[in-house]
C-alpha cells in the first residue's frame, strides 16, 4: 500500500514517523514517473517494514520545494523524519530494493 502525502498529513506521516518511510515524488505528465509507480507499488508489498508514500509535486509544490526536488521521479528515504538517502529516476525493481536496503544498513 502507498500512502498519499499532502500538506495535511506530511507532518504526521513523514516527519513524526518513527522508522523508515520512502516518498515517491511524481506528476501525471512525467513519463518516467508512470513507469516507476507500478514498481514502487510492488515494492511496497514486498518491503512491509518500510512505509511507502507518494507525493504529487503539482499539488504539493511547497513540500517539493522544501525537499529540493529538482527532477522527477525522485525517491527520498527518511528515518525518523530525517532524509537519509535520495534516488533519482526510474530503475528496475531489484536495483531499487537493493539501494533502499543499502541505505538502511548504512544508517542502522
Amino acid at each position: 500500500m502507498v500512502v498519499t502525502i499532502t500538506s495535511n498529513n506530511y507532518e504526521k506521516e513523514i516527519i513524526n514517523h518513527k522508522g523508515y518511510v520512502i516518498i515517491d515524488y511524481w506528476a501525471s505528465w512525467c513519463a518516467p514517473c508512470r513507469m516507476a509507480s507500478p514498481i514502487f507499488e510492488e515494492l511496497s508489498e514486498e518491503m512491509k517494514e518500510i512505509k511507502f508514500a507518494k507525493l504529487n509535486v503539482d499539488e504539493e509544490r511547497l513540500i517539493a520545494q522544501a525537499n529540493k526536488i529538482n527532477s522527477i521521479p525522485t525517491f527520498i528515504l527518511f528515518k525518523n523524519g530525517i532524509e537519509i538517502a535520495r534516488f533519482l529516476g526510474v530503475m528496475p525493481k531489484e536495483v531499487m530494493k537493493q539501494k533502499i536496503m543499502e541505505a538502511i544498513k548504512r544508517n542502522e
Binding site: P32, M35, V57
Partner: protein
Amino acid sequence: MNKEYDCLIIGAGPAGLSAGIYAARYSLKTIIAGIPLQSIITHAWKVENYPGFKEISGMDLINKFVEHVKHFEVPIIEEQIVNVEKKENHFLATTSTNKKIKARTIILATGSTSRKLNIANEDDFIGKGVSYCATCDAMFFKDKIVAVVGGSDSAVMTSMLLAQKSKKVYIIYRRDKLRAKPMMVNKVMKNNKIEVIYNAEVKKLIGDDFLKGIELSNGRKLSVEGLFVEIGHVPNTIIAKSLRVKTSEHGFIIVDENMRTNVKGVYAAGDICGSKNKLRQVITAASEGAIAARSVYEDKENEVV
C-alpha cells in the same frame, strides 16, 4: 516460445510502433518488444509538426501510437531485449526477464538517448541541477536562472518552455548562429528573458550538493541553478552490433533505401539509422517503420527470409 513470429520489432517509439501497425496490415505475425514511455519522444513538451495534431505532447502522441498498435492486436512486451542470437533460419531474442522470442526477421528501432556534455561531475549533478529533459524538470526551476546548452530545434524549444516560468534563460551554443528552424529562432530573439551566448561551451559545473553555476570556455561564469543539455542524441546500437550490423563512423546503422541492413533478415528504422544529418522527427521515424515493415513483407513473399 514455440511460436515463431515473422517479425520481432525491437523498440517501441514512433518507428517501432509504426512498423508494428504496417506489419499487422501486411498480416505478418508480429511482436514488439520495448517500453513506449522510454522513447525519447516523451521528452518533447510539445510536438507541433506531426500532421493531424496541431499541438500534442510527446507522451500523448506515443500513447496514441500504442492505442493504434493495440487496435491491430499486435502484442507489445514491455521489456528490454538484452540479447539476440542469429540461428540458421531465425533469430532468438532474450528479454530482461529471460523470456525468449523466436522470429524470422528483426526490425531494429531502438532509437537514441540524450548525449551528455562529458565534463567532470556531470553525473553527480543529474537531478540536482543538470537535466536532459526540460519537459520533465522545467517546473522545478520557476523564478530561477537556468541555461540551455545547444542550438537545435530541441534546444530552442526547451528555452521557450523554460522562459515561461524561469527568471532568465541563457542559451549556450558553440557556433555563431543557432541552427534551429528560422521560425523558432525568431521567437527566441523576441523573448526578452532569453539571452544567447554564442561561441561558447560549458567547461565546469560549480556547486556543492546542488548546481550553483557554470563556467564557460570563454572564461565567463554564470550563476545558474539549472542546466538543460540539448546537444543531440547517441544511437542505441548494442543489439545491432551484436548482430554484426554495419554502422557508420557516427554510430548510426547503415540501411538501404528500403531500410535493409547488411545482415539478411535485419532491418532498421528511426533515429538509430541513416546519415548523421538525416531529419530525425516523429514523422520520419514513422515513415521508416512503415518502409521496414513492407521490406519484411516483400522479403518473406520472395522467400529471401
